[in-house]
């Protein structure tokens, strides 16, 4: 059993690597290569980490084998030359994730997670397979020729692809599975949140030549809603992994939104940056202590005016830089408010500190963000991926405003009644039943138990 698992690990990993080589060297496919490299890099790093983290854990060998299968599924998806291979890779990855969730052991939580994942992936993967079957029924043979599919079939395929992408990204209304996957070990989450959930963007890129307005509209609305809802849910989570999981859902909503408005290069940039960020945060989840309680910092009212003024000025500078860099001529310009918000919050938080260093940090925040706006502009200019149909960029602006309002509604600044309702709903969002497990083994942790109770 053990040697079989080890062999499976290597074979799957080799397959994954081969797909990468194929995508990069043979097809010179930039998007596919990026996704495949990301999946392989993250999986490899997390596997190295897990050699020590899962030391002595009876589930370790299964984890290595299944995570390699997952990586191969993801790279095959990325490097797929046609829709059929893409769907095969997609379904293999889904199946591998379901198998990885069983590593949570014989706990109630695992059962809940399995049920939710099976239902969600059932919907998403069947939708994708149906889309591929529909496309295969047409004379079109290559993904690049999808534009030739027209009329009702195109609209239907567009809807099916949107459903598949939304499921992967854990967006509304198919969001329930992702929070439940916390029932699985930490390294499973690290891979899941970095390599798996973002495959929706790849799918949308691949099907972008399809002339169907249904995809961007559905994906944009679902993604936008998720930005708002999961973003507020994250603000109400007292547990570190709960914050990470809802943060991922919101980030994937943002990615879908970017795809929907046609800001493809920015969506891809976001996929990579977020994957590297989130896998780190999961691996470092054990460091999430608050530290020794310290006296709270002075929050006197006079500095609030000064601080918000400085923060607003810094945010305005970022917008001006975006203007100068001509960002607003691209669809990605609609996402500039989000980076301005990052600067505003960063400067606000930094200037709440003490000493002279807070101004240095605030300046650093503004500088880095300004640089990033320039990078955005450069990327959009360098890769003018104008693909298929797109939703109006104003959708992103609406989402931004709503997200800010939702953030305010759960903050102490909101009227008590509104805050109680919104906070209660946000803190209950995406939660799963967690009954106490009393009748558990007396000799080992229930998550290690081999036989059914």
């Amino acid at each position: 059993m053990r040697s079989a698992s080890v062999a499976a690990t290597w074979i799957a990993f080799a397959l994954a690597a081969a797909s990468l080589v194929l995508a990069a060297a043979y097809a010179s496919d930039v998007v596919g290569s990026i996704f495949a490299t990301l999946a392989l890099g993250v999986t490899g790093t997390v596997q190295l980490w897990s050699i020590r983290h899962l030391e002595g854990d009876p589930r370790a060998t299964r984890f290595f084998a299944l995570s390699s299968v997952l990586a191969s599924g993801l790279t095959v998806t990325a490097a797929a030359p046609n829709a059929i291979v893409l769907a095969i890779g997609w379904v293999v990855a889904s199946a591998a994730v379901i198998a990885l969730i069983t590593l949570g052991g014989r706990t109630t939580q695992t059962r809940v997670a399995l049920r939710r994942t099976l239902v969600a992936f059932g919907i998403g993967d069947i939708a994708l397979v149906a889309a591929v079957v529909t496309v295969t029924a047409t004379p079109v043979t290559s993904l690049n020729e999808l534009g030739a599919v027209g009329g009702a079939p195109a609209l239907v395929v567009g809807i099916l692809v949107a459903i598949a992408a939304i499921t992967r990204a854990a967006s509304v209304p198919l969001h329930g599975w992702l929070p439940a996957t916390l029932a699985a070990p930490t390294p499973v989450s690290a891979i899941l949140h970095a390599g798996f959930v973002n495959a929706g963007a790849l799918l949308l890129v691949r099907f972008a030549p399809l002339e169907a307005w249904t995809t961007p509209v559905i994906v944009g609305i679902a993604g936008g809603l998720t930005v708002v809802i999961a973003g507020s849910a994250m603000l109400t989570r007292p547990d570190v992994k709960g914050r990470l999981v809802h943060s991922t859902a919101a980030q994937m909503g943002f990615m879908l939104l970017a795809c929907a408005i046609g800001a493809w290069p920015l969506a891809l940039l976001h996929v990579v940056g977020h994957a590297l960020y989130k896998s780190y945060r999961f691996l470092a989840a054990g460091s999430a202590l608050l530290g020794e309680p310290s006296p709270s910092r002075a929050q006197d009212a006079d500095t609030r005016v000064l601080r918000s003024g400085v923060a607003s000025a810094a945010a305005a500078i970022v917008v001006v830089i975006a203007l100068i860099a001509d960002s607003f001529s691209h669809p990605g310009g609609a996402l500039v408010p989000f980076i301005a918000a990052t600067v505003w919050i960063g400067v606000w938080a930094a200037t709440g500190g003490r000493g002279r260093s807070r101004w240095v940090i605030a300046a650093g925040v503004s500088g880095v963000a300004s640089g990033y706006v320039l990078l955005w502009a450069a990327v959009e200019n360098a890769f003018p991926l104008a693909l298929g149909a797109a939703a109006s960029p104003w959708l992103a602006v609406c989402v931004f405003v709503t997200a800010v309002l939702a953030g305010l509604a759960v903050s102490p600044a909101a009227p008590t009644a509104i805050r109680d309702y919104v906070y209660g709903a946000a803190s209950g969002w995406g939660t799963s039943p967690a009954p106490p497990s009393h009748a558990a083994s007396l000799t080992e942790p229930v998550e290690y138990e081999r036989s059914s109770r």
Binding site: P238, G273, A350, G353, L442, P445
Partner: protein
């Protein structure tokens, strides 16, 4: 309700103060859980120790569903592996079987059989004693499991919301909890409409709400306590964190009021009447004692290969009745304890004058010190002592970087003075403080950006470019990455040479009194070496929420370095020394006390204030550091042999590299074994334990009867360090015996909630106790759960007096929560203190146990 209510005249609603009293009574079943930043051992059975151990065992089984002993199959495996033998079993049976003599010989089927062998056959072959079963259930759990699941799901979330810290402050945590909860639960759309409406009109005070539930369920007195206790133990982790009271404004009364109110509102109206003992009598599994006993008789007869006549069978049955089935597990447990006690029991080693050693080292009583002390003694002319790791200095420590003051003393002791770290170089201190402020501001900025409504999107994208490479670096080169981070910190905020100011914090007479009592307690009143190293301990670990559990428990879950530094400063103070002269303790002028810290993960011993050591002692210090470096390799190699994932037969360099890696590695779940395997506490001169490998399983407290003329030092040892050792022992045992109730499960599922603790997976109850990686590997436990075996070398009358004066210690001894053995000097036999007086135990005339080798004492599983 289907039963008719009692006449209303018989009842008056209980007053608020009565309700609070009932809550306190119910909370006896809980050991409050400390938050993670000062997570030190907590004895989970503390509330049951006023009961005899065997009675408590039944109560804990009924209320918690857990056992104080291993399942019988585990003991049988242990017997097969040689971890328990016939002599151990016979000895244990001797204290449990009273109605028949074990030495009697019966003649059955023409064979002579010792009664003791009959019982041993019974222990080995009879059907296994049943596992514990929880019978104390809340009404919802008993009558409506589906509703129960919903209630518990909501309550687990409520616990996390009340005690954790979300990025947006929870409206529940503003103001009085009961008011905040009624208001916000009334507006919580995840609750059913009926429940929300009911919550809005619930009683004005939590006490009234609880009284309402008492009225509804028609419970008073003990039954009311049982109802509350059933509710507390339904999510025992959250209740334990609330009972600690340091993490939030919610009290147990609030929590119980919310629980019983929700239950009343949520349960269907046709729910039957509840009574605490109902489950015990109506449970599905009915046991027929007579039938079980007959099976037992048959199994024993089979095992002894006997074909019994009816009369013989009746006699066997009568004999077996002398050991009730429920006592079998106690016999096994006591036998396993005796086996281990024999392995570690101190031997005779007459006092020999060894001359003045080159240096003396005082280390914490922590079992981890035992290994290092043994290797230090082997590496140089070094004499070692065991003493509480806070060096009996109850201080609050204010570090030079300007962080919050830390209570560096046992949690039950209030700091007596605040000791500051300072330096003559004010500019350096300023730089250090500025660096700390900068780091704090940067951290808060990143957290603020990551955790607000619209800002995390661009942030994650940007941060990813830094954290991606960091993931790889920390994974493939953890030591280098940690060193780079340390060097960066040193550039931003270089640490100057600092000293502590105990001479300011404590008046001269306080210092003298402290110094005298500390030296008498550790038995170091003469024969001072030129160098006396006071060595506290700490643990370098990365990415470990339970880091505090590996630090010094006597320092409240912190490093021991502040206490070692302060104590060394006191002992080096000339005025204090003059005062000690007047009290009969003369510290030679050429004796220098030096503060050090033992890192229990990397085994490195660091001299904390090298700048405080006079040049005259530089050579002595260098010699000590050489010895410490050699001891580090020896101790490290010994430890690595037992740690999962360590290289086999490592060279010296590999040993050092591996130790460093375990301290720095963010993936490491087995940085060290902590106090896993602890068995005993020995209060005696080091010479009776020296030159023996006790495999880091024993708390060693030095004690010399002669240095303690009035017995006050021994009284302190038995009433403070011994109690702490018992807590630790109980915590390790409980985490091993019931990893799902008193343990925290596997680390890989841990999900940190604020500072209050961890949950497993996506939520549920707060986990209490130690992670499985602290007590076991994979399917097998590594820790051997036994009650603490205490050995005291002191006059029996003195020990007996101290025990009878201290309520806590007497309770532990009388109720058999510890085994306390004593002997007056090296030449006498160990006597065990029981409820009925001293019993001389045949520890020395037992089939002579071989000297334990590391292999023998550590070949667990």
């Amino acid at each position: 309700m289907t039963i008719s209510p009692l006449p209303p005249t018989e009842k008056t609603p209980p007053r608020a103060v009565d309700v609070r009293g009932l809550v306190i009574a119910a909370a006896q079943a809980l050991a409050p859980q400390y938050p993670l930043h000062r997570f030190i051992a907590r004895n989970p059975y503390a509330g049951y120790e006023d009961l005899p151990w065997d009675i408590a065992r039944e109560r804990i089984a009924a209320e918690h569903g857990t056992s104080l002993v291993r399942p019988e199959s585990a003991y049988r495996d242990l017997y097969a592996a040689g971890g328990v033998n016939d002599a151990d079993l016979t000895d244990a049976l001797g204290t449990l079987v009273h109605d028949v003599s074990l030495d009697r010989v019966v003649r059955w089927s023409g064979r002579d059989i010792r009664v003791a062998d009959v019982f041993i056959a019974d222990l080995l072959a009879s059907p296994e004693a049943p596992l514990p079963r929880r019978t104390l259930l809340t009404p919802a759990e008993r009558f409506a499991p589906r509703v129960h699941t919903k209630i518990e799901t909501y309550l687990a979330r409520l616990g996390a919301r009340s005690l954790g810290h979300a990025p947006a402050p929870d409206p529940l945590t503003a103001g009085r909890f009961w008011d905040a909860w009624r208001r916000s639960a009334g507006r919580d759309l995840t609750l059913p409409v009926r429940v929300r409406r009911g919550v809005r009109i619930a009683a004005e005070s939590p006490e009234e709400a609880i009284a309402t539930a008492f009225e509804h369920w028609e419970v008073v007195g003990d039954d009311a306590v049982a109802l509350l206790r059933a509710h507390l133990l339904s999510l025992p982790g959250w209740a334990a964190a609330i009972a600690d009271g340091s993490s939030g404004a919610v009290t147990l009364t609030d929590w119980l009021a919310a629980r019983v109110t929700l239950e009343l509102l949520w349960l269907p109206s046709d729910t039957p009447a509840w009574h605490p003992n109902a489950a015990a009598t109506t449970a599905a599994a009915v046991v027929f004692p007579a039938e079980r006993h007959a099976e037992r008789v048959a199994a024993v007869a089979d095992s002894l290969a006997l074909t019994l006549a009816d009369a013989e069978r009746a006699e066997l049955s009568r004999i077996l009745h002398a050991l009730p089935e429920s006592c079998r597990l106690e016999a096994w447990h006591a036998a396993a304890e005796r086996h281990l006690a024999l392995l570690v029991s101190p031997r005779s080693r007459p006092r020999a004058d060894r001359g003045r050693p080159a240096s003396q080292v005082v280390m914490c009583i922590d079992p981890r010190s035992e290994g290092m002390r043994r290797h230090l003694e082997a590496s140089g002319d070094i004499e070692t002592f065991g003493f509480a790791g806070f060096f009996a200095l109850a201080i609050a420590f204010q570090d030079a970087a300007g962080g919050p003051a830390i209570a560096s003393c046992p949690v039950l002791v209030a700091p007596r003075a605040r000791v500051h770290e300072g330096s003559a170089d004010q500019a350096a201190i300023e730089r250090l403080r500025r660096g700390a402020v900068t780091a704090r501001t940067a951290h808060d900025t990143l957290e603020g950006v990551a955790e607000s409504a619209a800002s995390p999107f661009a942030y994650a994208e940007i941060a990813g470019w830094a954290t991606g490479p960091a993931s790889v670096a920390r994974t493939i080169a953890p030591v280098t990455t940690a060193r780079v981070a340390r060097n960066l910190r040193e550039i931003v905020a270089p640490r100057p040479a600092t000293r502590l100011d105990p001479d300011v914090a404590f008046a001269l007479d306080e210092r003298i009194a402290y110094a005298e009592s500390a030296l008498r307690m550790m038995g170091l009143v003469n024969g001072f070496a030129r160098l006396v190293v006071l060595c506290g301990h700490g643990a370098t670990v990365a990415n470990n929420p339970f880091a505090a559990a590996l630090q010094c428990g006597a320092c409240g879950g912190h490093e021991g370095s502040p206490n070692a530094r302060a104590a060394a400063a006191v002992f080096n103070d000339p005025e204090t020394r003059r005062g000690l002269d007047g009290r009969g303790i003369h510290i030679p002028a050429d004796t220098v006390f030096v503060a050090a810290q033992h890192d229990t993960v990397t085994d490195r011993i660091t001299i904390l204030e090298p700048w405080s050591v006079p040049a005259t002692h530089a050579a002595d210090l260098a010699a000590f550091e050489d010895a410490a470096a050699r001891a580090r390799i020896g101790s490290g190699r010994e430890r690595l042999a037992e740690l999962p994932g360590a290289p086999a037969n490592p060279t010296d360099d590999v040993v050092l590299a591996e130790l460093e890696r375990r301290g720095a590695d963010w993936a490491q779940v087995y940085p060290e074994w902590g106090l896993c395997g602890n068995v005993a506490m020995i209060v005696a001169p080091r010479r009776v334990t020296a030159e023996r490998n006790l495999a880091r399983r024993v708390f060693l407290h030095s004690y010399e009867t002669d240095a303690d003329p009035d017995g006050s030092a021994l009284e302190t040892i038995l009433t403070a360090p011994m109690i702490v050792a018992q807590w630790i022992n109980a915590q390790y045992s409980a985490s091993t015996l019931s990893p799902n109730r008193f343990g925290a499960g596997s680390k890989t599922l841990h999900n940190v909630v604020g500072n209050v603790g961890v949950v497993s997976g996506y939520g549920g109850d707060l986990r209490t106790g130690l992670a499985w990686q602290s007590v076991g590997v994979g399917h097998g436990a590594r820790h051997e759960p036994v009650r603490l075996q205490v050995f005291v070398q002191a006059p029996l009358e003195r020990v007996g007096e101290i025990v009878s004066r201290s309520h806590v210690v007497r309770q532990l001894v009388d109720n058999r929560w510890i085994t306390l053995r004593a002997r007056a000097d090296d030449d006498t036999d160990w006597a065990t203190l029981t409820r009925y007086g001293w019993r001389t135990q045949p520890l020395s005339d037992a089939p002579s146990p071989t000297e334990p080798t590391p292999k023998e004492t550590t070949a667990w599983n």
